[in-house]
């Protein structure tokens, strides 16, 4: 993975999210989204360390993870717009985006839930004779969920090839991390004997390096690693904040956050003309993707419960 590839990913996620926010405001996306703006370096760095057949699980703030793992942005836009051509055929939406063909077992709207799902999937892959690794993303809020701590225990006990990626963006919705977490975030994992590291989550190359070491360790059969990536959410918890105008962060704090923009950090490592070329490439890609999504069909209402059961005839 080269410098320019990491830049392409963070830039793609940033512009995808900015466009998605516009589509929420124009009504093309119903229900809103949880923007990933500011946290792009983590998705880019982690997914760059993974093989195509490795697995990820994601969060309610999951667009960046899914894009970094390689989904087609047209199918991702279409999913957010509830179209039949979406990743989940319009049945999942922003908080459930999944692409099993790319090893994306789904974004999950229950904080802390996906860590145990990823642990089981990674364990099962090893049982099935595969050398794949799972990376599971969660926020700082999730480290207060018992279910996730139980998963740490299982993963450490059974040397499961899983990388726990905590995106510490400072807030669980509006609750500051210092008001929510007793002890330390890495201490949660250390208690289970899991090697734990705090890394700069604004720098894609630092995230990539740390994740590469964790993935190598998992693939070598040495079990889980915990990465606390410190980051900052530049935008709202959810797009509804633009209407409710919640005030829980100062202007000074927000501008301090923007001063460490992962797109700028990675972009500064490129020659200006190379950067401009990537930017143009990303815009063209997203123009085409949005066009495809906007032109896609809506699902047929009579198929609202399609896919619920494997044997639907039993229920007729």
């Amino acid at each position: 993975m080269t410098t320019i590839d990491l830049y392409r990913t963070v830039r793609l996620i940033r512009r995808f999210e900015e466009r998605a926010i516009e589509y929420v405001r124009s009504g093309e996306i119903v229900g809103g989204i949880h923007p990933y703006v500011g946290q792009e370096a983590i998705a880019a760095g982690v997914c760059a360390a993974l093989r195509a057949d490795d697995l990820i699980t994601s969060t309610h703030r999951g667009h960046g993870h899914v894009l970094a793992k390689g989904v087609n942005p047209a199918r991702m836009f279409a999913e957010l717009m509830g179209r039949e051509s979406g990743l989940n055929k319009g049945r999942g939406g922003s908080m459930h985006a999944a692409d099993f063909g790319l090893g994306i077992l789904g974004a999950n709207a229950i904080v802390g839930a996906a860590g145990s799902i990823a642990t089981g999937a990674a364990w099962a892959q090893r049982r099935l004779g595969k050398s794949t690794v799972a990376a599971t993303f969660f926020g700082d809020g999730a480290v207060n969920e018992g279910m996730l701590l139980e998963a740490f225990n299982l993963a450490a006990l059974w040397h499961v090839p899983v990388v726990f990626v905590c995106e510490n963006n400072g807030y669980a919705t509006t609750m500051p991390v210092d008001s929510a977490v007793a002890g330390s975030i890495t201490g949660r994992a250390k208690a289970f004997g899991i090697p734990s590291f705090t890394i700069d989550g604004q720098d894609p190359e630092k995230v990539l390096a740390a994740t590469t070491a964790a993935v190598d360790r998992a693939r070598a059969g040495k079990g889980p690693t915990f990465l606390e990536c410190t980051t900052y959410r530049f935008d709202a918890h959810h797009t509804f904040e633009h209407r409710t105008r919640l005030t829980y962060r100062s202007t000074e704090e927000l501008s301090a956050g923007w001063s460490r923009d992962p797109v700028e950090i990675q972009g500064a490592r490129l020659a200006p003309e190379d950067r401009a070329a990537v930017d143009a490439e990303v815009e063209a890609l997203l123009d085409a993707a949005a066009g495809i999504a906007l032109g896609s069909a809506h699902p047929d209402p009579s198929a609202a419960l399609q896919y619920l059961y494997s044997s639907p005839e039993v229920f007729s």
Binding site: G92, I110, A113, G120, A121, A124, E150, L305, V314
Partner: protein, 325 residues
């Protein structure tokens, strides 16, 4: 013919499926030593990769099973007591059950949840005596309550082979039930197909699990009074409405005995189906636990809040008398 107990039949089903399909594995608390006897002998036969003894981490290991299912395994979880299902209701109802639809059909979640010893075991008090099958049926999770050894074998086999999450409730009151079984006839029993446990022509009694034995005993007791048909749905959800309709079309009278709380329980559902679809000559009745029931400890109090044979006799008599009004 040899005798087969209900619990041994389930043990046999697990062993047969572990042997037949390498993707099947068991997980749960104390299953290595088979504390409940459900998994007796299986650790020695299949080893630690197939019979996974878990720490007390119900929420994580329930999702762990979901994750394993997402990549092609067929996990079977044993929960030693029914109340643990309250702890993992989110993981079953909100995760496992929803993932197939939410992913647009990209995945299947073939996890089986087995509860050997659901309902009252007398003397286990409030937090060990629930029988929460109505709860799972209400959210659309496939829910099975076998009543006899052959069905316990066949329904568990079908649950494991089903591509959706399935909860199998083995009532405590049925575990010791034994019957003569020709082992060569043991076979999968399809989900969603009920059976007539005893044919009759005057009243249809719908009973589940251990209550089927109670219904059969009451039918014998009332043989001189009325010809009672006992219908065992076997699967709570999906419910065999067509099978039930056939029975009720003949008897025109309906009583349901259900070890759930009264409000929004399985009994309420059967009566709602009857109100919508059946042409009855008497108002139907239900025999249930009371509203909001919590089973008290003392034996007499425990029994007082469970649906019993006397209540069933009274309900059947009421339905028969209702005909004469």
């Amino acid at each position: 013919m040899p005798k087969l107990s209900y619990l041994k039949a389930m043990n046999r089903a697990l062993g047969d499926e572990l042997a037949a399909d390498d993707r099947v594995f068991l997980l749960g608390e104390d299953i290595r030593v088979a504390a409940s006897n459900l998994t007796a002998g299986l650790f020695g036969r299949f080893g630690p990769d197939r019979v996974l003894d878990t720490p007390l981490s119900e929420q994580a290991f329930t999702n762990f099973a979901t994750g394993a299912a997402l990549v092609g395994m067929r996990p079977v979880i044993e929960f030693q007591i029914p109340s643990l299902l309250f702890l993992v209701f989110e993981q079953i109802a909100n995760q496992a059950h929803k993932l197939a639809l939410m992913s647009g059909g990209q995945c299947k979640v073939p996890v089986t949840y087995v509860v050997p010893g659901s309902g009252s075991r007398t003397g286990w008090a409030g937090q060990h005596s629930d029988h929460p099958y109505s709860l799972f049926a209400a959210v659309g999770v496939k829910t099975v309550v076998p009543s006899n050894p052959a069905d316990a074998y066949g329904l568990l086999l079908s649950a494991i082979r089903d591509d959706d999450p399935v909860v199998v409730f083995a009532p405590a009151g049925a575990l010791g039930f034994r019957e003569d079984v020709d082992f060569s006839t043991l076979a999968p029993v399809p989900l969603g197909v009920g059976r007539i446990a005893r044919p009759g022509s005057d009243v249809t009694v719908v009973a589940l699990g251990h209550l089927v034995q109670d219904a059969l005993a009451v039918a014998d007791e009332l043989a001189g009074v009325a010809s009672i048909e006992v219908f065992d749905p076997r699967t709570v959800y999906p419910l065999d409405v067509a099978g039930l309709a056939e029975s009720v079309a003949r008897t025109r009278r309906l009583v349901v005995i259900d070890d759930s709380n009264r409000t929004s329980g399985f009994g309420a559902e059967v009566l709602a189906v009857a109100a919508e679809r059946f042409d009855l000559v008497a108002r139907p009745r239900r025999v249930t636990r009371p509203d909001g029931a919590v089973l008290p400890f003392a034996l007499a109090l425990d029994r007082a809040v469970q649906p019993g044979r006397d209540d069933l006799v009274a309900a059947i008599r009421g339905v028969l008398e209702g005909d004469e009004q």
